[in-house]
Amino acid sequence: MNNSSLDIVLIGDKLSLKFKGELTLYNLTKHKKRTDSVDLSEVYNIVIDLSELNFLDSAASIFINNLQNRLSLNSALQVELLCNNSEILDMLELVKAQKLKYTEISHRRKRGFVEKLGENTYNNYISFLSFMSFMGELFANKMHYIESYKNIRYKEIAFEINECAVKAFGIVALTSFLIGLVVAYQSAYQLKLYGANIFIVDMLGISVLRELSPLITAIVIAGRSGSAFTAQIGAMKITQELDAMQTMGFDPYKFLVIPKIAALMITLPMLIFVSDIMAVIGGIVVANLDLGITVDMFLDRFSNVVGVKHFVVGIVKGPFFAFLIASIAIYRGLLVRDDTQSIGFNTTKSVVESIFAVIICDAVFSIAFTNLGI
């Protein structure tokens, strides 16, 4: 029941605010509006009359308390509180006592564009530095694990190879086949115009072996296995499994980090090889159906015009891409903090950053190999 009322009575210079019934947060607003709009210019005495109030909740007590304080600020005013209900007085006392303890909760300051830009730049710089320190730790402290063959965790590496390569076989093969198909189809259309049908072999062979296969494989693996690394290590961090490993003297680098990096570095070149085959098969299909080049003709020309170096260049990139993908993914996993959003955030970052790093690395290779005449 929200029946409350407020009688505002002005007699001479004496104003009486008489609250009746139950004053609660449900009916507070209308009374607040009325008391705020009272004209106080002619008034010297104010009585806040709570004697006919039979219930006051905490929100309403804060209101009464604030009202009293606001009116008391004006030194010309005499404020008087009328109340004989001990429960209501207790409530008011409680609010008053608490009010001394808390200060107003400060609102978050709005930040300007320059400040945000500066903060983001600084944060990116710091995160780059921390990635470098992760790399430094990996090379300086942890590489001794692979110095001796006894330290190599064959079982873990084999497990990771199965997880991140053998199981990725299908998707890499399918993606590459489609890429080969699409590239060949688009170029077939152009080549037909000039009657240069047979050159599809040169074009496809070089672009697929040198650039497309390594990149497509790396991107698929970054999305598939890189994200899995981040999520797995992040979850282990949240459940304190990494802490448990450390206190038991098992270095997570030895058990988790190095096997993952090694497994990916071993398998990515193999996956690139699979991708080469499938993309070329895609090309053969289009050449056969669309340009009337038989499989024999295609393969014959392929072995004549596409040098082995193109294949080798593509495969050599594999371990480098693998290292970047695995180390970024694991680094991001180790950054996960104790909250649920952190895993999602870092997994996204991991995929984006590793694809970005792979493309940069590819560009560097491309320039280097071309200048070296390979």
């Binding site: 979850a235 499994e241 490993m245 206190t247 003297g249």
Partner: protein, 247 residues
């Protein structure tokens, strides 16, 4: 050497916030030592510092005669094999079954045969009160109480002399919690353990602990046994132990 752990004037900062401002404590050999204090006072942080998961900003922590600031790699590995840690959530490796979890340190650090390890694991499983049939379950398949017991079994795998427990009874129902207390007391008898535990559970503290350190306001406000605790003038201690005093 009578004290297993000596903590001297430890200071810890999180960014600019002071967590510990000169903590001193010492854990006698063979005791069950309780770390108490309100939430957020840095008990778990102190425990993490002792087990070398977090660095201290100044001061000294000496465990089993080794100062853990700037400790050598070999000494750190030696220490890690000498202690067991039970994390609040158990922190069992989710990809391994209970049996494999408990066997892991044995497999890694010893050259024991498979049969021998199996037998040790069976012993540890029974000593913490789990059933042999639970051994092949995975951590996701068992209850919170069982997880704690299994994690305890894992921390006992290498027969440590020192055991760290982070809120061992939190999240357990009162009956399981009392069982766990009894288990800890029994293990201390059986295995001659020194135990450091962080706890909020008053009953558990009264039942098990020999010596307590109460951390409040970044410092140790009381260290000693529970009998003398009511002589101390401190608001926290009075509030915290009031319920028990009146019983």
């Amino acid at each position: 050497m009578n004290n297993i752990i000596e903590v001297k004037d430890v200071k810890t900062l999180f960014d600019n916030r002071i967590v510990h401002d000169g903590i001193d404590m010492s854990v006698p050999k063979g005791s069950i030592y309780g770390l108490l204090g309100p939430s957020g006072c840095g008990k778990t942080t102190l425990l993490r510092e002792m087990v070398m998961l977090q660095k201290i900003d100044s001061g000294d922590i000496e465990i089993l005669g080794h100062k853990i600031n700037n400790i050598q790699y070999e000494d750190a590995m030696w220490l890690r094999k000498k202690w067991g840690v039970l994390f609040q959530s158990g922190a069992l490796f989710s990809s391994l079954s209970l049996k494999e979890n408990i066997a892991l340190p044995l497999v890694e650090y010893s050259d024991l045969s498979k049969e021998m390890i199996n037998e040790i694991v069976a012993f540890k499983i029974s000593i913490v009160g789990l059933k042999a049939s639970d051994a092949n379950l995975y951590p996701s398949q068992i209850s919170g109480g069982m997880k704690k017991k299994a994690a305890l079994a894992r921390s006992l795998a290498m027969d440590p002399k020192l055991l760290f427990l982070d809120e061992p009874t939190s999240g357990l129902d009162p009956i399981s919690a009392r069982e766990f207390d009894a288990l800890i007391l029994k293990l201390r008898e059986l295995l001659d353990l020194t135990i450091v535990m962080v706890s909020h559970d008053l009953q558990s503290i009264y039942d098990t602990v020999d010596k307590v350190a109460i951390i409040d306001n970044k410092k140790v406000v009381y260290e000693g046994n529970l009998d003398n605790i009511f002589g101390v003038e401190n608001r926290l201690i009075e509030t915290f132990f009031k319920g028990v005093k009146s019983v």
